[in-house]
């Protein structure tokens, strides 16, 4: 992996080069003051030193609501894919890890056609980050799961190409890089240790924290909405007056009471059930991803939870129980 130095003053020119590979999107702040990934029309909109966006980049791969099918005269048809190529710039390693997990889910057997089409048109450019108190990822400067990566150093960035598309970016931006002097990366001040896969049996432990969380949880589902690896969805069909109609897929939420419903019963009627369900999915994994924790340590769930639930309390309590 060849690295090159990009001076901070060259960043605007670098963004112009990125536009050759698609519509440029990156971290910015809305009028309401919310950090978000959005189109970057002018370099001044970019907030490269952001901490975390409220909604993770999964929205580019799994839109909140998307049309799966349309039908007319009783026949269903696939929609035409319309999303243009997009360059997603300045993704932190946790969000890149989140996309890597979604790839496992949606690009495996029975590849999801909509996801695959959008993924193929997405160029990912990562950037190292400075973790804050909410973060607990394991590698804030890991140049993985992306096409190219920028490592923040004094007065600029070190560019590294990861994929062939990253090499193409390097070639396009070659005249912006200076290779004479390679500064040392700024060591990340990192508080977290990452989250190891948990034992599924912890779910039904009689640890009092479970009940404490269940008593305070308001089932708002914000943690799932903001989670970069939460992907479960509902499918609905809407007829139109002209005899046609659409079938759509939209984000669902395992904290909603209807999530575990079947005709005449509900397998997760209480908040405790739903907390345990989320724990199981996030930290233990479902078929065929059992044993893979999908928590990437971005800290969003803790940052958005209105009642301050932090499952890591449970993990450390459980570790304490196990090691006398």
């Amino acid at each position: 992996m060849e690295k090159s130095f990009l001076e901070a003053t060259q960043l605007s020119s670098f963004l112009e080069k990125l536009r050759l590979f698609g519509e440029l999107h990156g971290p910015t702040v809305t009028d309401a003051g919310v950090a978000t990934f959005a189109p970057i029309a002018a370099p001044s909109q970019l907030r490269i030193n952001y901490r975390r966006t409220q909604i993770p980049p999964k929205k580019y791969l799994l839109p909140f609501r998307e049309q799966l099918l349309s039908y007319r005269d009783g026949r269903y048809a696939e929609p035409a894919e319309t999303q243009p190529p997009i360059v997603l710039f300045a993704l932190h390693p946790c969000d890149l890890a989140g996309i890597a997990y979604l790839d496992l889910v949606f690009l495996g057997d029975n590849t999801d056609p909509g996801y695959a089409a959008r993924r193929a048109r997405l160029t990912l450019v990562g950037i190292s980050c400075e973790p804050d108190d909410f973060c607990f990822c394991s590698a804030p400067d890991s140049a993985a799961n992306c096409d190219a990566f920028l490592t923040a150093v004094k007065s600029g960035y070190l560019f590294s190409a990861v994929t062939a598309r990253g090499e193409a970016i390097a070639a396009a931006a070659a005249d912006l890089f200076s290779t004479t002097e390679v500064p040392q990366p700024v060591a990340a001040q990192h508080p977290g240790t990452g989250v190891a896969p948990q034992g599924p049996e912890l779910r039904f432990s009689d640890n009092p924290l479970w009940q404490k969380f269940a008593d305070t949880c308001v089932s708002c589902g914000a943690c799932s909405v903001c989670c970069p690896t939460c992907y479960c969805f509902d499918v609905r069909e809407y007829p139109a007056l002209d005899g046609g109609g659409v079938r759509i897929r939209e984000w669902d939420n395992c904290f909603f009471a209807t999530h575990g419903e079947v005709a005449g019963a509900n397998f997760r009627p209480t908040r405790l059930d739903r907390l345990r369900y989320r724990f199981l999915h996030k930290y233990c994994g479902f078929t065929p991803l059992q044993g893979i924790t999908s928590c990437v340590g971005c800290g969003r769930c803790k940052a958005v939870c209105p009642v301050g639930i932090d499952l890591r309390e449970l993990f450390s309590a459980a570790r304490g129980e196990m090691s006398p």
Binding site: D112, A120, P239
Partner: protein
Amino acid sequence: MNERVKDMHLPFTARLIERHELTEDTSLFRIAPEGAALSQLSRFVPGQFVQISVPGAGEVPISPADLPGEDGTLELCVRRVGHVTELLHQQLPAAPLGIRGPFGNGFPLEEMTGHPVLLLAGGLGIAPLRSLLMHLLRHRERFGEITLMYGARQPKLMLFREEMAALAARGEMRLYLTVDFAPETNGIQSCAVGLLPDLLKGFRFDAPATYAAVCGPPPLYRCLIADLEQAGVAPGRIMLSLERRMRCGVGRCCHCAIGQKLCCVDGPVFRAGELKDIPEAL
């Protein structure tokens, strides 16, 4: 520039041929899948499910009530309980429907070969088990004794009653029926009043060799598993066909998680032994 791969969301067309009303709210539908659906469905294993689309209403997972006929038609026993099934009941013959699948694992037919099979159905649970029963009877010589125990709420809600009685009369299987309650004026003699576990209690069979197939409402599983194990049926041979609200059928939407397993790909047929440590499974 189209990178879309073959879309597993896209249903094949299936025409509704006829609807035969079984009870007030439950009908047997015969549908004719078209095109590539025919070859896909020829791989159907009893216990698997298909996703049936009613254009304008949506999609529901249904476990076919029989194997596909020689002409490729499929029988679905459906109760009118929700939006999609309600609209399905309103469809007229020749109406276009959609079908995806089959999905899931189905019953382990090879493993069950040579063994006695005890089918325990509660209410609408007879629908998925009927496809297993039909397979067993069509290959009668491959299996040991076949017994069906079927419980319904009351006599008029008993599905396929004449058909089952006729099969039993041919001596190919043993049939035990029970109802939760029977109207006093009804005078039906052939039907016991009581729950399925009551039927099982007085039943003598070769338990260690038997495979049990159970389908019904959740409370049914809880009491039957204990009774079957007590009778001597191995937990690995108690096959439970479970219901969840599968949306996608391919293990993504996460509505059908049972512990760390997904009903749509790891099930819907589970062994009692697999579910022991999953309190929310049943």
